[in-house]
């Protein structure tokens, strides 16, 4: 029986993990410590909790065995495993990003950051601020200026039930639709708003009508929501 060299890792909350050296070396940080002969006793990792560390070790195990010449793990299988693995709460995902950075596990950092990027790319700036605890330090005028410089990047997409047609409309027109207006003002939607009960030709008519109402409203004093909401009720019943 060949003895496999193992290292001991200790998480911030005192959990002990015994890991094969080859697996632990997926972390460039740990690899450095081993090569510098600092790994005789348990390696303390004060920045990583036991729960997160166990996940990181899982990742390293899976990816070490895949680079083994005897392993038959194909790229697709590994990708499928990664997709399953990364399906965690946002809290855990953020912790994994920090752990992957601290432990210098390049593949895991790439996977976690890409996952968050894919998650946020369609979001609005307000949702981003909420997610990352960011305080808006623009004055309303400054923010308006920045928005205007790239106004086309803010267009909202409305999708019909079959995800066939996407319509990009300006936020002011989408607000004409009371229903969508509420969703927008409550910041409870992503940039793509699916409307399950409306087909694309009806949606086109509604948008056309809203456009007219917005133009009319800009020259009158009161917006005519009533006609718009009437139209909403009809197709929604369809």
């Amino acid at each position: 029986m060949s003895s496999v060299k193992k290292v001991t890792l200790k998480s911030s909350d005192g959990e002990i993990f015994e890991v094969e050296e080859t697996v632990a070396m997926e972390s460039q940080t740990i690899k450095g410590l081993i090569e510098d002969d600092c790994a005789d006793n348990a390696i303390p990792l004060p920045n990583v909790t036991g729960h997160i560390l166990s996940l990181v070790i899982q990742y390293c195990k899976e990816h070490t065995s895949s680079s083994d010449s005897n392993s038959s793990k194909s790229n697709e299988k590994l990708k499928a495993w990664d997709t399953q693995f990364i399906n965690v709460d946002l809290n855990v995902l953020f912790d994994l990003i920090m752990a992957a950075n601290y432990l210098n596990v390049k593949g895991l950092l790439d996977l976690t950051c890409q996952t968050v990027a894919d998650m946020i790319k369609e979001k609005t700036p307000e949702q981003i601020r909420a997610m990352f605890n960011i305080v808006n330090d623009f004055t309303p005028e400054e923010e308006e200026e920045v928005r205007r410089e790239n106004a086309w990047a803010f267009e909202i997409s409305l999708k019909n039930n079959n995800v066939v047609d996407t319509f990009e409309v300006e936020e002011s027109m989408a607000k004409e639709l009371q229903t969508i207006k509420n969703m927008i003002e409550d910041n409870y939607t992503d940039s793509v708003i699916p409307l399950h009960n409306v087909t694309s030709d009806i949606l086109e008519l509604v948008i056309e009508d809203c456009k007219k109402h917005v133009e009319a409203a800009e020259s009158e004093s009161e917006p005519s929501y009533s006609l718009a909401s009437k139209l909403i009720d009809d197709p929604l019943k369809a």
């Binding site: 990003i97 946020i120 700036p125 949702q127 605890n133 623009f138 969703m183 399950h196």
Partner: protein
């Protein structure tokens, strides 16, 4: 904020009635750990251009970051290396000789075609004429092409991803040398990685017929434009002056490794005919010209390309095979090696470009654009739905979005 809180509590019943069939995503949270700045940057660098432009208004530091040249370079580098199936930018001609442009997503990503209509949008209105031999190039997500804009003959730098561009006029033509006649100009677009600057080279060629024998002499003037300096300078003392080189037309060019390369014909001895093909390279950083020779077996037709991170030459025209030669060590003429023979390809007229390291863009006999995968030996017809009816492809580039922006002078939005 308080307004939305009110509607929140009052509308719960309404949501139950109306929203049941609509998809909702609640962004409650706020127990999320705070990510340090360099990790936030790791996430931002992976976002598409449109998202980053929208997120500029999240907070001031993000707006600054998106315009920071270091971040822009990092973002570009990431997307250039990670994009497995880049989009393809195609230039072609209709039957009247007008140029048409399209951006096509890679066949493995859907192959959807978007006509890039320069005439239709605000930039197109500036743009009135394009001579047949003018420049069209694409580097780092920036498209560069020359033409007549608002009455000025010059070129445009255009970044379609951020929908911004810049018009630059050519400098006034120099006086023609005695007994010479001006024939045409060549241009090249390139990137100087040492100073993170985009440059355009303009070569103005003159020709004179000698009386005693029928050797034609050429003389050229060289100008370089720097985007950073937003100005032109003239370059003197190039090998072209001394060696009487005639540059070939626009399709035999490539930008690689910080150098622009033209194929040209060299006649160094009186009495020689113009049969020796050479590569003339221009170092974008040091602004110097150099000559690189081909082995004699590169016959009859050549296209310059990039393959496996080396300067390559696609040699074709004898049979149904294509030879890909690589200059293993850049600048070392002895290091030309036949890397690959691709075939058996029937009905190919001309190779255009190598995409990544796996695929070749070609024009077939029917003047259709096709994509050939070297590994799988599969030929995919790109020129399908979405292309204009009569369209003869002349150039094609891989295209990846970038954030690179322009300042000063004639900047416009499209």
């Amino acid at each position: 904020m308080s307004q939305s809180k009110m509607s929140n509590s009052g509308s719960k019943w309404r949501w139950g009635r109306r929203w049941r069939s609509c998809r909702l995503r609640l962004s409650s949270n706020n127990n999320l750990p705070s990510l340090p700045e360099e990790l936030l940057e790791e996430i931002l660098v992976r976002l598409p251009v449109k998202s980053l432009l929208r997120f500029r208004c999240v907070q001031k530091s993000w707006s600054t970051l998106v315009q920071n040249p270091t971040f822009i370079a990092k973002h570009l580098r990431h997307h250039q290396t990670k994009t497995k199936n880049p989009s393809i930018l195609v230039e072609g001609m209709d039957k009247e000789g007008n140029f048409k442009y399209l951006l096509q997503s890679h066949p493995d990503e859907g192959g959807g075609v978007r006509i890039v209509d320069f005439k239709g949008d605000s930039m197109g209105r500036l743009f009135t004429l394009r001579p047949l031999t003018s420049m069209f190039a694409c580097i780092n997500g920036i498209i560069c092409f020359s033409g007549v804009f608002r009455g000025h003959y010059g070129f445009v730098l255009w970044n379609p991803a951020i929908r911004k561009g810049k018009v630059v006029s050519y400098p006034n033509p120099p006086d023609c040398p005695a007994h010479f006649v001006r024939i045409r100009s060549c241009h090249a677009f390139g990137f100087d990685q040492n100073s993170n600057d985009y440059k355009v080279v303009r070569v103005v060629e003159h020709r004179k017929k000698s009386v005693e024998n029928s050797i034609t002499r050429y003389r050229s003037y060289f100008f370089v434009y720097s985007l950073r300096a937003d100005s032109w300078t003239q370059i003197f003392g190039t090998p072209v002056q001394h060696n009487n080189i005639k540059l070939h037309s626009r399709c035999d060019e490539i930008f690689f490794n910080g150098f622009h390369h033209w194929i040209g014909s060299l006649n160094s001895e009186p009495g020689d005919s113009y049969d020796h093909h050479i590569i003339m390279s221009f170092d974008m950083s040091h602004e110097v010209f150099q000559i690189i020779r081909f082995p004699d077996m590169f016959f009859p037709n050549k296209t310059l390309a990039v393959f496996n991170d080396c300067l390559a030459c696609i040699v074709y025209g004898i049979n149904e095979y294509i030879d890909i030669w690589v200059m293993r060590e850049y600048g070392v003429e002895d290091s030309w090696t036949k890397q690959l023979v691709v075939g058996h390809l029937l009905g190919i007229q001309r190779p255009l470009q190598i995409l990544g390291n796996e695929e070749i863009l070609l024009v077939d006999e029917k003047k259709t654009l096709v994509l050939y995968n070297i590994g799988s030996q599969e030929m995919k017809i790109l020129q399908r739905t979405g292309y204009p009816k009569i369209f003869m492809p002349t150039q094609a580039f891989g295209y990846v979005e970038s954030l690179v922006s322009f300042t000063g002078g004639d900047v416009f939005e499209s």
